[in-house]
């Protein structure tokens, strides 16, 4: 029975939200201390928030603080590779930051047994003026390797990154791909007992990503404990033995990867394929647009969305921007995190958008999407360039694996799309050779 190497009990992290201003100036502090001593002086001393995530903003506008993480407890055993999943803003990165000792928790405690390496970003410590080899030493030292260790692994790091020819040029001359490969390579050769990884596998081109995933797999087979935050369900399924779902700052579920991923998708799906916001104050939006409803129903008026029925996305919103080129885009992503398609519509292209309530319908044809769960992002833009408002995973829907009018069920076929293609066949001539089975 393995030992517990990470134990966290009731970890919580609170960020105080200031008046939109990130930095204090000493002169402001002094000025306000003179003008209104009590309140302003106390609030002036509080630590201002740092990048609050999207979903946390809804309804939190009036509060002075926000709990990015509340009452989180977990236990991780040596050798486990644990995936941490959850929506953006759920608190996954905060959890990792606390376990990496980058920021201190507001409540609770954690105990860690063993050297921790944190990969929260690619290129930690790199300085553009220094050469590739100098940066390998610098970044390696910052990440926690000793000089001797770096020297020992130097050649391996350089060859994994495929930058042998450029190792003595300053990295400011590297292409972004080379830079990322070198940075990831240094980090990948860290050998701590516990590795905390935050979505860094999505760097570089496809070939390099495959290599990185392979390296992660190798690291996990060496018996290290890994905590892996990602949105990529495929990577999580491939690497992790266990998963944890973080929702709204708490551990909502923990268990096998299949179960937890299902819980995650269920969470996304139960928020429904139809959402209505009758009260504009609580509806998602900003000073440009405000959504009043969004529904995904089956095309052709059928009760259920099937492979052949297609779907219809209905959007109702209120527009506040008069006389612009207003456009709308939907993005559909499947449960593996694969972006299936992006589709846009120019609501007004002559600079004549009208303020008021609008309704839109978007028809997804049948025989396009394969069976499964999908989530929809909605973006409103101006001049097809500027973003006015964006909301991710606002609704989800499920395509059932049946086809009405073609028998009651179809075999579950793999593939992202399920097109109905036209096939043709003709017989040319009889042959004398007969294969007797």
């Amino acid at each position: 029975m393995s030992d517990i190497v990470i134990r966290a009990e009731n970890l919580g992290k609170r960020y105080r939200i200031g008046e939109r201003e990130r930095y204090l100036a000493l002169r402001d502090l002094l000025a306000s201390a003179v003008s209104s001593p009590m309140r302003r002086f106390v609030s002036g001393k509080s630590f201002l928030s740092n990048g609050n995530h999207g979903s946390a903003h809804h309804g939190d506008e009036n509060q002075s603080s926000i709990w990015a993480l509340k009452e989180t407890s977990l236990e991780i055993r040596q050798g486990e590779v644990v995936g941490v999943i959850g929506r953006n803003g759920a608190g996954k990165s905060t959890l990792l930051k606390i376990l990496s000792r980058i920021t201190k928790p507001t409540t609770g405690w954690a105990e860690i047994d063993g050297r921790v390496g944190s990969l929260l970003e690619v290129g930690t410590g790199f300085h553009p003026e220094l050469t590739g080899s100098e940066n390998i030493y610098l970044s390696g030292a910052i990440l926690g390797m000793s000089k001797r260790e770096i020297t020992r692994k130097f050649d391996e790091i350089v060859s994994f990154a495929e930058v042998e020819k450029f190792i003595d040029t300053p990295v400011k001359h590297y292409s972004s791909g080379m830079y990322l490969k070198l940075a990831f390579s240094v980090a990948a050769h860290l050998e701590p007992e516990i590795l905390l990884v935050d979505e860094v596998l999505a760097v570089g081109d496809a070939a390099f990503q495959k290599k990185s995933l392979g390296k992660m797999g190798q690291v996990s087979r060496e018996g290290r404990t890994i905590l892996f935050v990602s949105h990529n369900m495929t990577a999580i399924r491939a690497l992790c033995s266990r998963a944890v779902l973080v929702r709204d700052g708490e551990v909502a579920s923990s268990g096998t990867v299949t179960d937890v991923v299902d819980d995650y998708l269920l969470g996304v799906a139960t928020e429904g394929s139809a959402r209505d916001w009758p009260d504009p104050a609580a509806a998602p939006g900003n000073e440009n647009v405000r959504i009043s409803y969004m529904r995904v129903i089956s095309g052709e008026g059928k009760p259920v969305i099937t492979i052949d029925s297609g779907a219809e996305i209905k959007i109702g919103f209120e527009n506040f921007r008069k006389n612009i080129n207003l456009g709308c885009t939907v993005r559909v992503t499947n449960s593996e995190g694969v972006l299936i398609f992006v589709s846009s519509y120019r609501i007004s292209s002559d600079g004549d958008s009208r303020c008021g309530i609008h309704h839109m319908k978007c028809r997804i044809p049948g025989h396009l999407l394969n069976a499964g769960r999908y989530s929809v992002d909605l973006i409103f833009g101006k001049d097809q360039r500027w973003m006015l408002f964006q909301i991710d995973s606002v609704v989800s829907f499920e395509v059932k694996n049946t086809a009405t009018g073609r028998g009651s069920s179809m075999t579950l076929a793999p593939g992202v799309i399920r097109p109905l293609l036209s096939w043709s066949h003709s017989f040319e001539e009889e042959s004398s050779l007969v294969n007797q089975l």
């Binding site: 204090l24 002169r27 606390i98 990496s100 928790p105 929260l120 930690t124 003026e129 018996g223």
Partner: protein
């Protein structure tokens, strides 16, 4: 699964004892053992600062020598020749340069430590290491420049045919005092600047004012005897006089002055460490 025992740990970092992560305490929470474990990283930070600084300047290391030297020339001309400020029997250039060695180091260390936390915000928000290393590195990198300046000073001693005397053996003590002073003030400035971003604009004025409050351009013997203890509360008074005395053998061995300065340095350092530690837990949130 392969047992971890077969993996090798880098020899300089033994497997750490169980670490506990908890909300920050209010009092002094200094983990010296951890700082010692991270000494290689301190070296790398200093190495990086020096490498980057010298790669970016056209004259590189020469700047380390030019700065105190040029200031010394200006002082010799205006304070020495024109204003006739006394110099304790030393030739003016030597009088000023010996003090400027300490002062240039101190001013540079303050400038570097004020901005170090903010400049390194990317690293701070992504990796853990004792944040104390950053002001420590800022204060250490100036020592290399001090070394170059010292070589020039030896040349000056030869030129003016001055022999320092036995007091030069006490030089390391004054050097240590200079480093601790720079660190003490630097800790305050780096933590303050991380929270209140305009502190760095105050620092150049602070340094200028401080220089005139220290015996750089004039000897401390100008200060009346009964005020000398108050004058000594400026920690740099003790450092500068000490430098001058040990390097040249001239001037009085600073006694009350030095005692007051040393006490002040220790207070500044202790306060600096405490304030810095208080900021440390949340620096990643503010920066």
């Amino acid at each position: 699964m392969q047992r971890l025992a077969t993996l090798d740990f880098p020899s300089y970092r033994q497997k750490p004892a169980r670490q506990r992560i908890a909300p920050p305490k209010d009092w002094l929470d200094l983990n010296l053992r951890e700082l010692w474990n991270y000494r290689e990283l301190l070296y790398f930070f200093v190495w990086r600062d020096l490498k980057v600084r010298y790669k970016q300047t056209a004259i590189g290391a020469a700047w380390a020598i030019l700065q105190p030297f040029m200031t010394m020339l200006v002082f010799t001309l205006f304070f020495g020749r024109l204003a006739h400020i006394p110099s304790n029997g030393l030739p003016h250039p030597v009088f000023y340069y010996s003090a400027l060695l300490a002062w240039t180091y101190f001013a540079g260390a303050l400038q570097n430590s004020t901005t170090t936390i903010v400049e390194n915000q990317r690293v701070i928000t992504k990796v853990y290491f004792p944040r104390l290393l950053l002001p420590m590195a800022a204060v250490t990198s100036g020592l290399v420049d001090l070394g170059f300046g010292f070589i020039v000073f030896l040349g000056m001693l030869l030129y003016f045919k001055i022999t320092p005397g036995g007091a030069i053996l006490l030089m390391p003590f004054f050097l240590l005092l200079a480093v601790l002073t720079a660190l003490g003030v630097g800790l305050w400035l780096s933590a303050l600047n991380a929270v209140y971003r305009d502190v760095r604009y105050v620092v150049p004025f602070l340094i200028q004012f401080w220089m005139f409050a220290s015996p750089v351009a004039y000897p401390s013997s100008l200060i009346p005897e009964r005020w000398r203890w108050l004058y000594g509360l400026n920690p740099m008074s003790g450092v500068v006089e000490g430098f001058r005395w040990s390097l040249t053998g001239h001037g009085e061995p600073p006694s009350l002055l030095l005692a007051a300065s040393t006490a002040m340095v220790l207070v500044l350092l202790a306060g600096g460490v405490m304030y810095f530690q208080k900021m440390e837990g949340t620096i990643a949130d503010v920066v």
